[in-house]
């Protein structure tokens, strides 16, 4: 499949043409949030408190970067396992999040929320933290600074490589590709 260059936040018509397995290069603004930040965001939604950023239409990247050595803006910054966020994700999608970047498969509830709310889930290459950091051009900690690596950061990225893993058509890259390469025991 041909690589698509897309901008974040994603337009609805862009999400509509993204299908499972499509490689993308993402440019624009994405927000980092992992376990602890998700817990706090959902707590704020419950209480009606102020959110760390306006969730409408935005992209969340599940990552907790390593510290920036001198002269750099960020250390390694690859994706973490998305399934740990599954408990919070349908809520965040309902509140406006439209794209997620992580690694590994999602729960049926998340896939349903993606379909229903016209969202998309991308995977980036897990463990390729040094390579992925090259696409990150600007880093601002915008909330939960006390969480350290788990703080919410606004990242400006250029040609950040990812692959569509769950689309609005109920496609799932893991199921599809696993079935394709599965062979019976010898």
């Amino acid at each position: 499949m041909e690589t698509q260059r897309i901008s974040s936040p994603l337009e609805a018509e862009v999400i509509e043409r993204l299908t499972v397995g499509t490689p993308v290069l993402i440019s624009g603004v994405i927000y980092t949030a992992r376990d602890a930040a998700h817990r706090r965001i959902v707590r704020s939604l419950d209480k009606g408190d102020k959110l760390p950023f306006d969730l409408k239409g935005q992209t969340i990247y599940y990552t907790g970067p390593s510290p920036a050595p001198p002269g750099r803006i960020i250390g390694s910054a690859g994706p973490t396992t998305s399934t740990r966020m599954d408990a919070y994700t349908p809520r965040l999608i309902a509140a406006g999040i439209r794209a997620m970047i992580g690694k590994g498969s999602r729960s049926p509830a998340v896939r349903e929320a993606i379909k229903k709310n016209k969202s998309v889930y991308f995977v980036a290459i897990g463990g390729a933290g040094a390579l992925l950091a090259r696409s990150i051009k600007k880093v601002e900690v915008i909330a939960y600074e006390d969480l350290g690596t788990e703080a919410v950061r606004r990242l400006t990225v250029e040609d950040f490589p990812a692959i569509v893993a769950n689309d609005i058509y109920d496609g799932d890259i893991f199921e599809q590709n696993k079935a394709r390469y599965r062979r019976e025991a010898r």
Partner: protein
């Protein structure tokens, strides 16, 4: 590990799988060149100490020294600090990646061997223990290992090294499984029966279709390393400790 990834790139049947393996190899190059961690998860510090019975450590206590080494390494090396205390409640970061998990063992001799592993949590979280019935035997063991890797899927960041601990007790088996990961990737167990089990499991696991990062393919694992010990007449403990492709191990002998 890098050599194993390069070899896998030749044998991988999926074009996307080959591309992913290529990116992991490229990532290793960038990490080395730019002095960045391979992966932002710089792990739990797991330390195996093999203490020669004729050595005597002077000038302070050994656990404190190991802990201090971890603290300095993670702080000065710009590595991510991932340890939290009160794991089931506050989960507050300890700030310096301590405490390490230390396994000490008394061995013959007068040397102190330190084996170090920066163990990522993505793969650790998918590790499993089964206390099988002796009647389940080899077949039950194979089924359990295959099921564990299948359920881990993409989450454990394949291609994996699969550490197996067979025998001993519940905690003994898991410790064996973890230590098995320190073996050189692809080096078989010296016991022919165990080596055959390792080879069969590797072939079966690579038939699951999971592939590099779970995106499909024939490279789900690069190696299976099993360690076997005697066990109780009523038991067949099998521990599976998974290692992602970011295998960061070092050893030193004092």
């Amino acid at each position: 590990m890098l050599a194993a990834l390069k070899k896998a790139q030749q044998s991988e049947v999926s074009p996307l799988g080959r591309e992913v393996l290529g990116q992991l190899i490229e990532n290793a190059g960038i990490a080395q060149q730019e002095k960045l961690p391979l992966c932002q998860d710089c792990g739990t510090a797991v330390v195996f100490l093999e203490i020669g019975q004729d050595t005597h450590v002077t000038g302070g206590d050994l656990s404190t020294a190991v802990t201090e080494g971890v603290r300095r390494g993670y702080t000065r090396g710009y590595l991510r600090k991932s340890m939290v205390n009160q794991p089931f409640s506050a989960r507050k970061n300890t700030g310096d990646n301590t405490p390490p998990v230390i396994h000490a063992e008394i061995v013959p001799g007068n040397r102190l061997k330190i084996l170090y592993m920066a163990k990522g949590a993505g793969s650790e979280n998918m590790s499993r223990l089964a206390m099988l019935k002796p009647a389940e035997g080899r077949e039950g063991l194979v089924d359990f290992v295959i099921r564990t890797v299948d359920e881990a899927g993409a989450n454990a960041c394949p291609p994996l090294v699969i550490g197996l601990g067979i025998g001993a007790t519940a905690e003994g088996a898991m410790r064996l499984a973890k230590k098995a990961l320190l073996r050189r990737v692809g080096e078989p167990n010296p016991d022919p029966e165990t080596a055959e089990l390792e080879a069969e499991l590797l072939s079966r696991v690579n038939g699951l279709g999971i592939g590099p990062l779970g995106l499909g393919g024939s490279t789900t694992a690069l190696a299976v390393s099993a360690e076997v010990r005697p066990t109780h007449i009523a038991s067949l403990p099998v521990a599976v400790n998974l290692q992602c492709h970011s295998a960061r191990h070092r050893e030193a002998v004092l």
